[in-house]
Every structure is written in structure tokens, then in C-alpha cells.
């Protein structure tokens, strides 16, 4: 569920979100309910997870959000133990809102914290103070979200020293109750954002690499293990909604700019996305039309390669055969046996990114060879290895 509204836009953000559209909120939620109804008509099965993302879903009055969730539950149904997450801006939360979420069926919160250091928050253009985060965590605990909330952090803002980043990491780990899940994102420069127009404020790759390594170390020592490039969690607290994305599961996106994915017969799949502008989105649904703006159909080879790219980013890794020996030996991945031997065949060996490899995941992705899936050993390429990109001198 995409909620494309924010109180103000952050300078680094390239998401489909708007400020100053509060007059559209009610109309927008009605349009979303129409889209849910269309999905119900299509005969989709019960949802295994729901994610309210944005934008700032917590800006909406609680009853709007829970009403939408209610429609979904009564229409499609919700699988047992389904995870229902709402992204929240800590600055605008209230204990009442969190209690209403809990009562309305929300099981998990995700706080957009970004930093626990005031001057870094200012540099990012965020409007909250670290104190709001401490307060929001306490309220979350009181409302029944202890052990069920995550925080988002961003590293690499202009003026952020290594000590600032460490303070942010330690700051969120010291929250009471503590988060069981942390997403730490390298600040990236997206075209068209305010940040893109300020070259002197751009993050430095080497600085971000050091900060990533620090995050991994600090979070791991607090019992949060990395399970995807930008995500760490207590075992069992991984975000099942995101795991669905990375395993090429099926999902339906409701709302402006939301993306959907359906698997088709024959190893193919279709992705599509809705119109981005909230008013146009409303008009489409009010006119009884689908909100789809465009889409693509993936053939088996494309889909297979995409599957490898996504899996590579996770702790699951890819079949070792999908990478050439020189990549396997490069130090960017490590081999891990996965599962017990089955029917006399050896355990599958998977290649999983190392810390260095996570930082260079694109480089490894570019060397993934679709079609090699399931192959455990490939003959070492002879002189013809010129087709491979050199990895080391």
C-alpha cells in the first residue's frame, strides 16, 4: 500500500510522494479501497503480508489506514500470522495512533529514524529530533510493538563523521524497547533530487564503505544479523514482506506508483506499476478503470537472471554454479553448504556475499551467469575466458 503523502520532502528522496495534498487524503483512501475491491474481484488469495509504505503512512488518520486494512482482510483475507507493517515518522506519532494501529491489526512498525545526531538530521533535511525517536520507541513498546519494530538509518550525509554514524547505531540499539530489525541505507544520489543538484554534498564511496563495515560490526555484536544488503535483524525478525520481494514472490501494489508482480505460466512473469500522480490515480479508479501506467513481461531467461540478482543480495546467496571460478575465489563471495544431502546427492553449495562482496554487489551481479543454476561445478574456463570480466590483476 503506497501512501504518497509527506509533511515535507527530503532533499535526497526520489520516491513518488507529495507534500501539501492533505485535501486529497480521504479521496485517495477511497480510491485505494476501490483498487482493493478490483483485486478482490480478480480472485487473489489471502495476503501473507501487508506493508504500508510511502511517503508517510502515519500521516493519515488511523481510521483511514485501518479501514483500508479492514477492507483487505474482509475481501482477500489475511493468512494466519501475516505480517502487517506501517512506516512511521517518529515526529508525528502519538500513543493513540499506535494503539489504534495495534487494534486495527498492525503487527509491525518501521520508523524512519535516519540518524540520531541532530546536525546530521538537519543535513538530511529531516524535521524530527532524536528525542522523538526515544519517545516513539517507548510508545511503541506500550502499544504492544515490543520486539516488533524496525528502524531505518541512512549513512553518508554531508558532514556526518564516523563518530556521528557510530552514535546513530548505538543510539537506536539503546532504545527501550530496542528494535529487532535495522535497515541501514547508503545515502544515494537520485537524479532529479535536490541532492543531485549539490555536487559538494554528495556522499563519498570510501567513507560509505567504512560506515557500512562499522554498521555490520555494531549490529552483529548486538545480535542483529545481516540478511540482505541493507537489512539486519534478530533471527526470526526478518521482514517477511521484503523477503517476498527478493524471492520473486507475487504481490499486488495498491496506490499511486505502486508496483505489482504476478507469476505467469512458462517461467514468465509480469510486473506493472500504477500512475504516480495521486489525483490521476484517484480519477482512474473513480472512472472504474485500472490504475496501471505501464508494465513489462519477463521471459524465462530475464526472470532467471533477475532471480539470481535478487537472491545474491540476500543471506541465501546463489547456486555456486552461477558464478565463474575466478569470482568464487575473489573473496567477494564465500561458499556455504545449504541443507543436508538429499537422496545421495551432495548438499547444494551456495555462494553468499562476504562483507567486501556486499559492498560490491553490483560488480558480482554483473558476473552472474543465468542458465548455470543448479550446476555445481563448471569446468574451469581455458583460454576462452576472455569473455569474463577480469576481477583481479
Amino acid at each position: 500500500m503506497h501512501v504518497p503523502f509527506c509533511q515535507r520532502r527530503c532533499g535526497y528522496c526520489a520516491f513518488a510522494t507529495w507534500s501539501g495534498l492533505s485535501h486529497l487524503w480521504a479521496r485517495y483512501v477511497r480510491a485505494c479501497r476501490l483498487e482493493v475491491a478490483r483485486a478482490v474481484e480478480e480472485g487473489l488469495g489471502p495476503a501473507t503480508s501487508v506493508f504500508f509504505g510511502g511517503g508517510t503512512p502515519s500521516l493519515l488518520p488511523a481510521e483511514m489506514l485501518t479501514g483500508l486494512l479492514g477492507d483487505l482482510c474482509s475481501g482477500l483475507g489475511l493468512a494466519t500470522g501475516a505480517e502487517v507493517t506501517v512506516e512511521c515518522n517518529p515526529e508525528t506519532l502519538t500513543p493513540q495512533l499506535l494503539r489504534a494501529y495495534r487494534q486495527g491489526g498492525v503487527t509491525r512498525l518501521s520508523f524512519g529514524v535516519q540518524s540520531m545526531v541532530p546536525h546530521v538530521l538537519a543535513s538530511l533535511g529531516r524535521d524530527h529530533r532524536p528525542g522523538s525517536v526515544v519517545r516513539a520507541a517507548a510508545w511503541a513498546g506500550e502499544a504492544g510493538f515490543e520486539g516488533a519494530y524496525s528502524v531505518d538509518l541512512i549513512f553518508g550525509a554531508a558532514g556526518e563523521a564516523m563518530g556521528d554514524w557510530e552514535a546513530s547505531l548505538l543510539g537506536v540499539l539503546a532504545l527501550d524497547p530496542p528494535p529487532v530489525h535495522v535497515s541501514a541505507y547508503a545515502l544515494s544520489v537520485e537524479p532529479g533530487t535536490a541532492l543531485a543538484r549539490q555536487p559538494d554534498r554528495r556522499p563519498d564511496d570510501d567513507d560509505q564503505a567504512r560506515k557500512y563495515a562499522l554498521a555490520d560490526e555494531v549490529l552483529a555484536s548486538a545480535g542483529l544479523e545481516w540478511y540482505e544488503i541493507s537489512n539486519w535483524a534478530r533471527p526470526g525478525a526478518e521482514c517477511s514482506h521484503n523477503l517476498l520481494y527478493w524471492s520473486q514472490g507475487e504481490y499486488i501494489g495498491i496506490g499511486a506508483a505502486a508496483h505489482s508482480h504476478r507469476v505467469l505460466p512458462g517461467g514468465r512473469a509480469r510486473r506493472w506499476w500504477n500512475v504516480a500522480q495521486p489525483e490521476r490515480y484517484c480519477q482512474r479508479l473513480e472512472a472504474g478503470r485500472a490504475a496501471e501506467a505501464a508494465g513489462e513481461t519477463l521471459g524465462p531467461a530475464e526472470r532467471q537472471w533477475e532471480g539470481l540478482v535478487l537472491a545474491l543480495r540476500t543471506r541465501t546467496g546463489v547456486p555456486a554454479g552461477a558464478l565463474a571460478p575466478e569470482v568464487l575465489e575473489s573473496g567477494l563471495v564465500e561458499l556455504r553448504p545449504v541443507g543436508p544431502p538429499v537422496a545421495g546427492r551432495p548438499a547444494a553449495t551456495r555462494a553468499v556475499l562476504t562483507l567486501q562482496g556486499r559492498l560490491l554487489a553490483n560488480e558480482v551481479s554483473l558476473r552472474l551467469q543465468a542458465g548455470a543454476q543448479g550446476q555445481l561445478h563448471r569446468p574451469r574456463p581455458e583460454a576462452a575466458s576472455g569473455a569474463m570480466v577480469p576481477l583481479v590483476p
Binding site: 547508503a186 544515494s188 544488503i229 505502486a258 508496483h259 540478482v309 583481479v392
Partner: protein, 611 residues
């Protein structure tokens, strides 16, 4: 081309139809932007050659590149009528690269109109052409143009012309080609002051080819000026330089539309089509005579075109090598001064080492290859021809740094020098002299044309001039300098080859021959530039510059530690996949040198002169 109907009979020579005493042949000589094309346009209008309805700007400049750059590369010649006179306007290329072509065009004239912008004053090339005209004993009509401009200073400009060329200021005409003011008076002055052509109609034929171009339907079309005798359609002609015989298939004049005539008599200018397929067989300076009654001597002044500047041209897509060869061959049909031989570069693949008359010529050829033939090219840095005197007593001509023999086999290397003439504002003299000294120049002469303008003459190594000398000159004079140069022989120099090594592997495309005193600076600049251009790899990449077996500069591209870590949720997956697909495609187009992936763009940028 046959717009006047049927071919004239070829039973015997047709009489020349134009009264020789009323022919005036002249060339308009002007600096770029001083208004030659506009003046030509006005003359075409005023003489009724082109009706106002047909008129368009730069009527005579037919190539796109000419219109865009405002320069004339291939001359266009036109015949107009004025008060009973037949006036041939003989166009000249307006750039230093084509000075030989200019001299051939002037050989077809009895006079020149020296057109000078009244706001700018005379420029170096115009002056060089004026000197050429004096050498040919031509009548010079000095004309100040753009007198309508508020910034015009005709008094100062006239005084300057009087100082440098000895033409009394009082005789200098003033026109505005834009408004047409003074153009009729100029035409009158042309008829009064430029002498009629001499020439004996009964003598054996001597006609000068002063320009040729290739027409895809008619083959080579040559501009000719008959000096003696009569050139007739159907005549068997002997081309005295090539020694070959061709038939005069068609003769004509441009009014400016090509119009067939049966014969051209002494003093007449027109075009000749003789079934020739390659302009190399009808070069500027060629003398045409009749096979049956040949002239004793060819006309004086013929010279083989000699390339001055060389560079490697490589197709960005290796599959286009044959297409590049075809295109160069086709281009040579219309421009015989291009030379090319295949060469191979480990970095750039298969390409050609090409020779050009100068830098502009190089740019134009490259642009025509890309525009007219749809090729995408990488050009290596321009270089000049060096002479290596070897220890075994032989001499090697080097057109590329790759051809440089090992140092122990070389007794001496010689490099081409030019004599460069620069006209500049007096206040820039110091800074320009500094520039010339910095480029290993030796001052020959310095002269004040007026209190504000100075003529500086330097002997300079051509290699220094072809690099970015003109740009440096312009920037030091805020655009108010002009430059002309002519070859001044080979001079021994302390020259070394600088190699650039990427991850310890030399990259041939980046090698250069430079003066020993510049080697360290050149190496440092290249290494720094490449450090910026080569993307970080998964390992440290040393970039070294080496000369004479020593490393003279070193930079390192530090290993890449992180690529994009952007989030990748439901809405990001399509974009992520497309980004990776694009990067994968990009990797395929990279050259791998010493296991370093170098994007093609890095080659292009590194080989650019201005960065």
C-alpha cells in the same frame, strides 16, 4: 548540368563568345566572418544573377559544414555580367590549411578584392593572401566592409592597410555588404582597375585547373581558367602533370546555375567534365592542353598536396572498419589531399593513420566521415611527420609515435617547423611572446602595423602549433589575434617518445612524441587525466608515464570499495535490473587493457586536446 539544352556540335573549335578585353577575373580574399559570403550574395543580386526569390544566405557555400562553420572549403566560381563586362568571381578557401589551393585560385585571377571588416581590421590570413596576390602581380582592391556597424573604425583600418600593404588610404573602398551600400561602386572599380586577361587565342591550349570536386553523377568536375588557346567540347585533352588523356565531355560556366558552353577562350573561367573518376587525377595546379597540339610547358606552380598533420582514425565499433575504408576511399575521390594507411592499435583495434593539410582539414574530414557516412570514430591526438636519422645512415619518416624506432637505433630526430605570422592587439604582445617562447618558438620579426596592432613572426615547431596553439593564442588575446603559417623545413630536436602504461601495459593510443623538456609535464598531465577518466576497478590500477625506459610520472586509480547500495524493494526491482543490464552492455563495450576495463569514453576524452 545541361540546363541550356543540347550539346554543342564538336565539329571543330567553336569561337570564344566573350570579348577578352571585357573579362575581369578576381578573387575576394577575406578573413572568416569579414563578410565574403554576404558580399558575394549582394553581387549576385545586384548583377541579376540570382533573383531575390531564389536568394538565400551564403548562396555559394554548398556544403552543410561550410554554412555551419561560415567558411568555404571548396571554391565555387561564378560568372556575372556588369555593364557590358564579364566578371568571374573566383572563390578561395578561407583557411590556412588550404593556402596552396588559395595560391592556385589566385593564379586564375588578374586581381583580388581584399575585404576587411572595418570593425576588426586586417587579419593574418588576409594579409598572407594579400602577399600571395602581390607575388602573383595581381591588382589589389582594398575594401572595408561593415561600415554600417557602430563599432566600425574605417579610418584606423584604412591606415593599417596603408602601413602594411602600401595601398593609399584614399583608394580604399567602403561598403556594407549587408545593406548593399557601395557594392555597385565596387563593381565599377573592379571593371575599371583590374586589367583584362592577357592570352593568345591562337596559341596551343594551356588551361589551369584550380579546383576539382567529385559529383556522384558526373564524376570529377574541375574549375578551369583558360590561359592560352581555346578549350572546346569534344577535344582530346592531355593533362600535363598526370600525363593522361581525357575527352572534354562538357564545358560550362556558372551563372551561378551550371550552363553548358561549347568553348572557353583565353581569360575565361568555367568548368570542365572529362570523364574522370578521381580528383587525384585533376588536382589543383594541373595544366590541361590539347593532345593534338600540346603546349611546350605546363603552367608554373604545380605542387603535390602534402599532409602536415596526422592522426589515427578508428571506428568505435570494430565491425565498421571496412565501412571506414570505403568512406575514406569515397572521400578521397573529392579530396585528393587526404592520405590514409591501415594501422592497428592494441587499444583501439583496426583503423587508419590519416594525413591532413592541417587541423581544420582534419576536423572537417572527421566530421564528414561521421555525418555523411554515418560512422562513429575515435581520433588519436594529432601529430606531425618526424624524420628519424638512423645509426645505419638511413632515414625513417614517422607518421605515428608507434613507428618510433628504439632509442639506440636513432642518431637524430628532426621535426617540422613553420613560420607563423600573427596579427594581434599591441597590448597582448607580451603574453603572446611568452606563449611562443613556451612553445619553443624563435622570434623572426615584430612590427607595429599601427599603434594598436602588431605583426609577430615566429619560427615554431609544427607539433606545438597543431596541439592547441591557436586556442591558446585566441584566449590570450581575447579572440583578437589571427594566425597564418607556412612550412619552414625540418630542424633537429631533442625529442622522445612518451608511453603511457596502464597496469604496467603500454597503451599505444596514448603514446606521443614530445620534446624532452616537455616529457615530464606531458606524462604527468596524461596520467592525471587518465586517473580521472578510468573508473575504479576491483584492484589498484597504476598509471605510469615512461620515457626512454624511465618512469616519469605515476598515478593510481584506487580500488573500488563500494558500488551502489541502493535499496531494492518491490518498486525498485525493474529499475535495478535495467540498470544492471545497461552496465552489462557497457562492460561489453569496454576495452580490456592490462586487465583494466577502460570505457571507450575514456579514450575519447583522454585524446581530446582541450581538456
Amino acid at each position: 548540368m545541361r540546363q541550356t539544352g543540347g550539346r554543342m556540335s564538336d565539329t571543330g573549335p567553336a569561337p570564344a563568345t566573350v570579348d577578352q578585353t571585357r573579362i575581369r577575373n578576381l578573387s575576394i580574399v577575406a578573413h572568416i566572418d569579414h563578410g565574403k559570403s554576404t558580399l558575394s550574395d549582394r553581387i549576385l543580386e545586384l548583377t541579376g544573377a540570382v533573383s531575390p526569390r531564389e536568394m538565400r544566405d551564403q548562396y555559394l557555400d554548398s556544403m552543410d559544414i561550410e554554412r555551419e562553420r561560415g567558411i568555404t572549403i571548396k571554391a565555387q566560381n561564378v560568372r556575372v555580367r556588369w555593364k557590358g563586362y564579364t566578371v568571374h568571381l573566383i572563390d578561395t578557401p578561407g583557411h590556412v590549411d588550404f593556402s596552396y589551393e588559395v595560391s592556385r585560385s589566385l593564379a586564375a585571377c588578374e586581381g583580388v578584392v581584399l575585404l576587411v571588416d572595418a570593425a576588426q581590421g586586417i587579419e593574418a590570413q588576409t594579409l598572407a593572401h594579400a602577399y600571395l596576390a602581390l607575388e602573383h602581380n595581381l591588382e589589389i582592391l582594398a575594401v572595408l566592409n561593415k561600415i554600417d556597424l557602430p563599432a566600425a573604425d574605417p579610418e584606423r583600418c584604412a591606415a593599417e592597410i596603408e602601413t602594411v600593404l602600401g595601398i593609399p588610404a584614399s583608394q580604399i573602398l567602403r561598403v556594407s555588404a549587408k545593406t548593399g551600400e557601395g557594392v555597385a561602386e565596387l563593381l565599377d572599380a573592379i571593371c575599371e582597375r583590374i586589367p583584362a586577361p592577357a592570352g593568345d587565342p591562337s596559341a596551343p591550349l594551356q588551361a589551369l585547373i584550380f579546383d576539382s570536386y567529385y559529383d556522384q553523377y558526373r564524376g570529377v568536375v574541375s574549375a578551369v581558367r583558360v590561359v592560352n588557346g581555346v578549350l572546346c567540347t569534344g577535344a582530346k585533352l592531355r593533362f600535363m602533370q598526370t600525363g593522361r588523356t581525357h575527352e572534354a565531355e562538357e564545358l560550362g560556366v556558372r551563372l551561378p546555375a551550371p550552363t553548358e558552353v561549347g568553348a572557353l577562350g583565353p581569360g575565361e573561367v568555367g568548368y570542365l567534365i572529362a570523364g574522370i573518376k578521381d580528383v587525384g587525377e585533376a588536382r589543383s595546379g594541373e595544366t590541361v592542353t590539347e593532345a593534338a597540339r600540346p603546349a611546350q610547358e605546363p603552367l608554373a606552380g604545380y605542387r603535390e598536396p602534402k599532409p602536415m598533420v596526422f592522426c589515427g582514425l578508428y571506428p568505435t565499433d570494430g565491425d565498421d572498419f571496412e565501412a571506414l575504408r570505403d568512406s575514406l576511399e569515397k572521400l578521397r575521390l573529392s579530396d585528393s589531399s587526404i592520405s590514409f594507411t591501415p594501422e592497428t592499435s592494441a587499444a583501439l583495434g583496426f583503423g587508419f593513420r590519416c594525413g591532413f593539410l592541417g587541423l581544420l582539414h582534419m576536423d572537417i574530414v572527421r566530421e564528414r566521415l561521421e555525418r555523411e557516412f554515418g560512422l562513429s570514430l575515435i581520433a588519436t591526438a594529432p601529430s606531425v611527420e618526424y624524420l628519424a636519422r638512423l645509426t645505419d645512415g638511413t632515414t625513417a619518416r614517422l607518421h605515428s609515435p608507434a613507428e618510433m624506432p628504439p632509442p639506440q637505433r636513432i642518431a637524430q630526430v628532426e621535426e617540422p617547423y613553420v613560420q607563423a605570422t600573427m596579427l594581434l592587439p599591441a597590448e597582448s604582445t607580451g603574453t603572446v611572446m611568452e606563449l611562443c617562447q613556451g612553445r619553443r618558438g624563435e622570434m623572426v620579426r615584430m612590427e607595429y602595423l599601427s599603434p594598436e596592432r602588431v605583426e609577430l613572426v615566429y619560427k615554431l615547431p609544427l607539433s606545438e602549433v597543431v596541439m592547441d596553439f591557436f586556442d591558446a593564442l585566441k584566449s590570450r588575446t581575447r579572440g583578437y589575434a589571427s594566425l597564418d603559417y607556412e612550412p619552414a623545413g625540418f630542424v633537429p630536436g631533442d625529442l622522445v617518445k612518451v608511453d603511457i602504461l596502464l597496469n604496467s601495459v603500454p597503451v599505444d593510443a596514448f603514446s606521443a612524441i614530445v620534446h624532452r623538456s616537455d616529457a615530464a609535464e606531458h606524462g604527468r598531465r596524461m596520467a592525471e587525466k587518465l586517473r580521472e577518466l578510468i573508473p575504479r576497478q576491483l584492484f589498484d590500477v597504476p598509471i605510469q608515464a615512461a620515457a626512454g625506459g624511465r618512469i616519469i610520472a605515476r598515478e593510481t586509480v584506487k580500488a573500488k570499495r563500494k558500488d551502489v547500495l541502493a535499496k531494492c524493494y518491490g518498486g525498485d526491482i525493474t529499475r535495478k535490473r535495467k540498470l544492471l543490464e545497461k552496465q552489462k552492455e557497457g562492460k561489453k563495450r569496454m576495452k580490456s587493457i592490462g586487465r583494466v576495463e577502460v570505457p571507450q569514453e575514456a579514450f575519447i576524452q583522454a585524446l581530446r586536446l582541450d581538456s
